[in-house]
Symmetry: C2
Subunit: 483 residues, 2 copies
C-alpha cells in the first residue's frame, strides 16, 4: 500500500474503503436483531449464488461490500446477536475488533522474538497481567520458570500441554522414538471432546485415555480417578496426564481440583486444567472459588474469546515449566537462528505452539483490557451470571420444566418434562423461528436444552424475553397435542 | 455494540475510533520506509515501558493509539516494508486487511456448517476457484472426493496430512491404540523443519523420519528415496508418508514430483506436497512447471499469506480423499450434533483441522481474488520474479560474490567470497543499519545470505537499491581490512 499508481490498493483508496467497512460493521450491529439468529439457508444455497469462476480482471471493492449484504448475510448465523444462546459465546467487542485491525494493518509475524519483538513482549506482558487479574498462581508468570502464550483455541492449548507432558514424563523419548504404549491419560466423561482429539493426534491412542465417572453434579469423581491410576500402574502403565475441567461444556461442572491435584502430585502426573469458558469469571472475587486447588496445575488454559470480550481466536495457555513445553516443540533450522535467540534472554513463541508463524494477537487483548479495565470486565461478567440466575429461578418456578444441572455460572440446563422427542422438536421450532439460537446436550442420558448467556450485548431483558418465547412455543405445542 | 449507554463501545464510538484506526494504518504505510526494517530494541525494553499492572478502570481508546506510536512501533520489525527481504514474506494488502476486518466485525465461528453456513460455503468455493487458478488436479475440488480447507500455517497443514495418512494406512488403528513403531516418513534434508515437528507431535518419533539426500540443486534425490523405502520394507517397516517440497526455504529447490510420485504410487505411500511459498506462482502459465507430477499428490498445501497478497494467517490444504482426513480428526459429542451434519451433505470444517473453532478467513482471500483478479495476481508475481532475476544477474556480474543456488523464482542465495565470519558480520551490519532486513541459511555447509523478494510494495528499484547498499557495506568492510 502506497501512494503510487500500481495494481495495489493505494493509501487513499484504503482510507475510503476502510471507512466504508467500518460503516458496514456499524450498520451490521445496528440491525443485528432483525436477522434470524440461525441462518435458514439450505446446504449449497450460498454457493449457487457465487460465480463459478474467479474474475480474470480485478473488481471494485464496492462489489465485495454489496455482496456482503446480498450473498453473505443470509448465510450467517449471528454469533454477535444478543439472542445467541448456543454453544459457548465468541465475544466480539469494539476494542477487540479495532485491536485486531491494528494487527492486520501491521501485518507482522511473531514466530521469533527478533521477527517482531513487540509481538512477543506485549503478549508476555498482557498474559502476566491476566495472571494477576484471574488470581492464578505466580508460577504461571513469564518472570518465573513458567509463562503464558496465546493459542488459537483450547483444543490446541490442550494438545500442546499434552505433548509437553508426554515428553517430560518420557524424558524426550517419544519425540525421538515414537509412542510406545506406555502412558495413560485421564479426564472425565463430561470433559470436552478436544481431549480425545489431542490424545489421538499425539499418537497415544484413545484406548489409553481413561474417561473417569462423574458425581451427581457432573464433576470428576476423584475416588474413581485414583482407582483408574492404581489399576494402570498395576498393569505396568505410566499415568502421565490428567485433564481437569473448570466448567464443562454440557453443564459448567467444576472438577474438584484440590483432590485431583493431590492425586497428581502423589503420582507425579501432569495436571492440565481446561477452564476455556469459565476461567474468565475468576476476575470477580466471588467466583474465585472455581480455582480452588489451581496451585496443583502444571498447565492451565482459558479463552478470552469466550467470556473476556476478545474476538476469536484467543486462548491463553499457561505453563509452570516452560522449558518442558519448549523442549517438546522446538526445532531450530539454520534459517531460523537469530543473534538474540542464542542469548536465551527472550522467548521465541514458535516453540510454544504447533504452527511456526503467528499473528500479533496480543493487540486485541491489550486493547480490551485497557478499554474496559478490570472493573468493566467484572461488571460484564456479573450481568450475565445474574441473568442466568434469574432464568434458572424462572424455570424452577414452572413445574412443567426441570433444571438438569446446577446453574453454577452463566449456563442454564433444562428440559420440558416430556419425551426427548418433544424437547428435540421444541428446540428445532425455537431455532427455526429465528428469534433465538440454542443447542442441546445430554445429561443423565436425557435430551437437555443448554441456554448459554455470554454474548456481549445480551441483557437481562433479552434473556427474559427469550424465556417468554420458549414458554409460548411450548404452550403452542401442548395445544397441538404434541407429547 | 449498540446505541445504548453501557460499558461497551457504542456504535457511534466504534465508528469514530474505527476511522482513526484506518487513518493510523494509512499513516503507518505512508511512513513505513522511514523506520529501521529490523527493530533495534533490546530484549525487555518494550516491557519496561508498560505499566506493571492492568488498569482498574477503563481507558479512552485514544490512549491505545498513542501507545501504538510511542511504545509498539519501536518494537516492530516491519514485515510490510518494501525493504523486508528476510524469511518468506507475509503479504498484507488493502483488500486483505479489509476482508479480515469484515471477518472480525461479523465475529462468527465456523466450526460446523450450521454454525455459520457462509463461512463454510465461501471457503469451499474460493478454494475450488484456486484449484483452477493454480491449475491443480480436479481431484482437489470439493465437488469430488477431495476438497480444500484453510489452515493457519503450512505447519498445521502438514500435521493434518500426516495424521490423515497415519490413520488411512493403519486403518484407524493408531488413533485407537497409539503409534506402534511400524511406520516411516520421508522428506529431504532441505525440507522445512515443520515436517520434523509434525512427526514428533504425531507420536511417530524423529527416528522414524528419513531425511533423504538432495542433488546439486538441493532437490530430493528419488534414487535415494527408493533405497530408503526398500531398506525400511526389508526391516519390516511400513513406508507411510512422503513430503515433497516445491520451493524449499533455503533455496527454492523443487523436488522432482513425477519421479517421487511414481515411487509413492508403487508402494502405496501418501504423497504430501509442501508448496508453501512457491505454490502461488503456478497462477502464471510460465511457472506451471513447478507442478509437474502434482497428479500423484494425495495432499498439497500453499500459503496465500506468502505470495498471494492475503494477510497472515491463510494456508490452503488440499486433499484428494477428504474422508481420510475427516475420519482421522472427527469427534462428535452430543453438543456438536446438528440436524444438517447428519445429512452428510455439508462439510463441518472442525473435522479438517486441529482446533475446533475457526475464523471466517475465506473473506480476506475472496476479497483479494476479486480485487486483483487473476491478471492482477499474475502481474504481481511477475514483478518479483523479474526483480530476483535482475538481482541474480547483478550478483553474477560481480566476481567477489557467488550465487549459491539456482534462482528459480523469487529467492536469491549468495555469499561474499570470504569466510563465514565475514558474511555473518556483513549480514549483521546490513540488518543493524535499518535499511533492509535479510536472513541467512547454510547451503553446502556454507553461510549463505537469502534475499527473498515478495513484499507487496517491493519494486525493482528497492531491490537494486538494496544491492547497491550491500555493495557499499561490503566495500566498507574491505577497506577496514575485515576478511
Amino acid at each position: 500500500m502506497n501512494n503510487k499508481d500500481t495494481i495495489h490498493m493505494s493509501i487513499k483508496e484504503f482510507k475510503e474503503n476502510g471507512y466504508k467497512v467500518i460503516d458496514w460493521i456499524a450498520d451490521y450491529y445496528e440491525n443485528i436483531e432483525s436477522y434470524p439468529v440461525l441462518s435458514n439457508i439450505k446446504p449449497g444455497e450460498l454457493r449457487k449464488n457465487l460465480p463459478k469462476s474467479p474474475p480474470q480482471n480485478g473488481e471494485n471493492f464496492n462489489n465485495i461490500l454489496s455482496d456482503m449484504n446480498d450473498k453473505i448475510i443470509p448465510g450467517i448465523t449471528h454469533w454477535q446477536s444478543p439472542n445467541f444462546f448456543a454453544y459457548f459465546p465468541c465475544n466480539a467487542t469494539g476494542p477487540a475488533i479495532l485491536g485486531d485491525l491494528l494487527s492486520s494493518g501491521l501485518g507482522v509475524q511473531g514466530m521469533l522474538w527478533a521477527s517482531s519483538p513487540a509481538c512477543t513482549e506485549l503478549e508476555s506482558h498482557v498474559l502476566d497481567w491476566l495472571v494477576d487479574m484471574l488470581r492464578l498462581p505466580k508460577k504461571f508468570k513469564s518472570t518465573t520458570s513458567g509463562g503464558g502464550v496465546i493459542q488459537d483455541t483450547a483444543s490446541s492449548a490442550t494438545l500442546c500441554a499434552l505433548i509437553a507432558a508426554r515428553e517430560k514424563i518420557s524424558n524426550g523419548k517419544i519425540n525421538e522414538s515414537g509412542f510406545d504404549d506406555s502412558m495413560r491419560v485421564y479426564t472425565s466423561i463430561e470433559a470436552h471432546s478436544s481431549i480425545e482429539k489431542a490424545v489421538k493426534i499425539a499418537g497415544i491412542g484413545s484406548k489409553n485415555l481413561r474417561l473417569i465417572e462423574v458425581d451427581q453434579n457432573f464433576a470428576m469423581d476423584p475416588i474413581k480417578l485414583r482407582e483408574a491410576i492404581n489399576n494402570d500402574i498395576n498393569n505396568g502403565k505410566t499415568p502421565a496426564f490428567v485433564c481437569a475441567t473448570i466448567g464443562t461444556t454440557s453443564s459448567t461442572a467444576i472438577d474438584p481440583l484440590k483432590e485431583i491435584g493431590k492425586i497428581c502430585d502423589e503420582f507425579g502426573i501432569w495436571l492440565h486444567v481446561d477452564a476455556a469458558m469459565a476461567g474468565s469469571t475468576s476476575i470477580c472475587p466471588e467466583y474465585q472459588f472455581i480455582n480452588d486447588g489451581i496451585e496443583y496445575a502444571d498447565s492451565y488454559c482459558f479463552n478470552p474469546h469466550k467470556f473476556l470480550l476478545t474476538n476469536f481466536d484467543c486462548s491463553c495457555l499457561y505453563i509452570s515449566d516452560k522449558e518442558a513445553l519448549i523442549k517438546s516443540l522446538t526445532i531450530n533450522p539454520e534459517y531460523l537462528k537469530t543473534e538474540v535467540s542464542d542469548l536465551d534472554t527472550v522467548f521465541d513463541y514458535r516453540d510454544w505452539q504447533v504452527p511456526l508463524g503467528r499473528r500479533f494477537r496480543a493487540l486485541k487483548l491489550w486493547s480490551v483490557i485497557r478499554y474496559y479495565g478490570i472493573s468493566g470486565i467484572q461488571s460484564h461478567i456479573r450481568v450475565h451470571i445474574k441473568a442466568a440466575k434469574i432464568l434458572s429461578d424462572l424455570i424452577m418456578q414452572d413445574n412443567r420444566f426441570e433444571i438438569m444441572a446446577p446453574t453454577v455460572l452463566n449456563l442454564v440446563c433444562f428440559r420440558y418434562k416430556a419425551s426427548d422427542q418433544f424437547n428435540t422438536l421444541l428446540l428445532n421450532k425455537l431455532n427455526k423461528s429465528g428469534a433465538l439460537y440454542l443447542v442441546h446436550t445430554k445429561l443423565n442420558n436425557k435430551y437437555t436444552i443448554r441456554f448459554s448467556i455470554g454474548q456481549t450485548n445480551t441483557t437481562e431483558e433479552h434473556v427474559v424475553n427469550a424465556w417468554k418465547f420458549i414458554l409460548k412455543t411450548t404452550e403452542g405445542m401442548e395445544k397441538d397435542g404434541i407429547k
